[in-house]
């Protein structure tokens, strides 16, 4: 197993938190992992990206130039990084925020209305967890339970009451992604 995951969005959307959760979960499962954030100086609304590599083998370069999984949370990120994804890779689109279509036909595209799903669960702030649930279902890089345990470390103390709703969001994301998974396995 070797996945290079690039998550791109805007500050406040939870792109970095998703990456941290993945990294901590993978560490708890004794996998090789690296997490590198990139962000602008803005408190909110600037670009906020991160690259997470999870592997069974030692990681030489922590810098991702050709991701196997790309998560995009806004239009600009899709435009900027669509071409970098490897052949047959996965692009997960938060279609609540992205109205551009994916042009490439040699990658697998998963489209999730994460913000609406999150609002439906009761809090738009868990939109990133919906996406994360989908990502884990599709790639199986870490177990859901490892992510759930890591939530306590990543969430600030004042938000620990958000853990149950995050669990629900992870579950909902996995449910949505499993439809894609089934469709793909029927194709192949």
């Amino acid at each position: 197993m070797h996945e290079e995951i690039y998550i791109a969005g805007l500050g406040g959307q939870g792109a970095l938190s998703m990456g941290q959760l993945l990294a901590l979960a993978a560490t708890s499962e004794n996998k090789e992992v690296s997490y590198v954030p990139f962000y602008g100086p803005e408190k909110r609304g600037g670009f906020a990206n991160c690259g997470v590599i999870i592997s069974d083998h030692p990681i030489s370069s922590p810098i991702i130039s050709e991701p196997s999984v790309l998560v995009v949370m806004n239009n600009l990120s899709l435009k900027n990084y669509e071409d970098s994804v490897i052949l047959g890779g996965i692009i997960i689109v938060n279609s609540s925020m992205v109205n551009l279509g994916v042009k490439r036909s040699d990658v697998r595209v998963v489209s999730i209305q994460a913000s609406e799903e999150a609002e439906h669960l009761g809090d738009v702030r868990v939109a990133n967890s919906v996406i994360l649930g989908a990502l884990i279902e599709l790639t199986e890089v870490v177990s859901v339970s490892a992510v759930e345990k890591s939530l306590e470390e990543v969430l600030p103390k004042r938000n620990l009451n958000m853990i149950p709703i995050n669990f629900k969001a992870l579950e909902r994301g996995a449910e949505l992604a499993s439809n894609y998974k089934k469709a793909w396995s029927n194709l192949s």
Partner: protein
């Protein structure tokens, strides 16, 4: 663990109990971490009003014999240069951390390696050097802090740990090896009052008699020669039959290691030299490899600074090329590989 947190924890494991600093991205987590951790272990954390104050507080604590450090990023390190020269001139031990960002000027908060010249060629005024260590993983950062403090004590001089913004911000799993007790060498020279010493100790970098100043300079020179001979550190990867030797440090050395593997898969005999000490620079390793390799490719996040040290080491025996990304940008593996293919066919020197 985050790279910046590893700097803080590494310092504590090394017995450092005094920190003076001022936050600046991408270094801020060092101050944040130590503000919380130092009081827990009975240490002193002080956020100074500026970087000028930070370095002079370091100077004071070092005079009093403390294991002391500060940390900043390019703009703050520039402000500290006067103090650094005074620390070098007064032969005081301390550790500085520079988490480099895009420049010049205020620049940006992207990762960079553009402070290489400043760090390795002195930086402040006068004839002096600072030992410069360049880790390339979070584990190495954690382990290197102890080495930095030990070296600064052994040679009574400032040691800088220099990393780019990525090293500071990235997270990797680490193993913390807690030693039961840290031995900090005695400091009979410290200025802590006549109650503790028979003779009056004096720490000074002012020598108005020219001959005396030259004597101090000669003592420093001999010290630097000894360090060059004993402390130069370098990692070599796949160099035995390499035709093109990449040279890179810090984050870029990680990317280059992946490039070497990729190149080998495609039948190109590439290797990697990773200087771990940037000063003293492993000129001897470069000289040795210059006999067997066809050329060098220095890859850096700057216009070609370490490149000049590679040229000194190569002594004209093999051409040295340079590939760099600037202003906070990171070179990508595929672009380095392209450049590697290009230079493997080129002859003559240039950037």
């Amino acid at each position: 663990m985050k790279g910046n947190d590893a700097i803080g924890e590494g310092a504590i494991l090394a017995g450092c109990r005094h920190f003076f600093g001022y936050p600046i991205t991408p270094q801020s987590e060092v101050t944040h971490y130590l503000a919380k951790r130092l009081p827990e272990v009975g240490g002193l954390f002080m956020q100074a009003e500026s970087e000028l104050a930070s370095i002079n507080l370091v100077f004071g604590a070092a005079c009093a014999g403390a294991r002391v450090m500060t940390a900043s990023s390019g703009p703050g390190i520039s402000l500290m240069q006067e103090g650094l020269s005074f620390l070098a001139g007064s032969e005081l031990p301390c550790v500085l951390v520079n988490i480099m960002r895009g420049g010049p000027g205020l620049g940006n908060i992207g990762p960079s390696q553009a402070d290489y010249f400043q760090a390795t060629k002195g930086g402040g005024h006068g004839d002096y050097h600072t030992i410069v260590l360049a880790p390339n993983s979070v584990q190495e950062i954690l382990d290197m802090m102890k080495k930095a403090f030990d070296m600064s004590d052994m040679y009574r001089m400032p040691v800088m740990v220099m990393a780019d913004g990525i090293m500071g911000q990235m997270m990797e799993p680490v193993v913390i090896n807690e030693e039961k007790s840290v031995e900090i060498p005695p400091r009979p020279w410290a200025t802590i009052g006549r109650d503790y010493h028979e003779n009056r100790n004096e720490i000074n970098s002012l020598f108005v008699v020219l001959e005396e100043m030259e004597e101090v300079n000669l003592r420093l020179l001999h010290k630097y020669e000894e360090i060059h001979a004993k402390e130069t550190l370098c990692e070599e990867y796949m160099l035995d039959d390499a035709e093109v030797a990449l040279v890179a440090f810090g984050t870029v050395s990680r990317i280059c290691r992946a490039v070497v593997d990729k190149a080998r898969e495609q039948g190109i005999r590439a290797g990697l030299i990773r200087p771990i000490t940037l000063w003293p620079f492993p000129h001897d390793v470069i000289s040795r490899i210059a006999k067997s390799a066809q050329c060098f490719l220095a890859v850096e996040m700057n216009m070609g600074q370490m490149f000049e040290d590679v040229e000194i080491g190569a002594k004209g025996r093999a051409p040295v090329y340079h590939y760099g990304r600037l202003g906070g940008m990171v070179p990508l593996a595929k672009d380095i590989l392209e450049e590697l293919k290009k230079v493997s066919k080129r002859r003559g020197t240039g950037r």
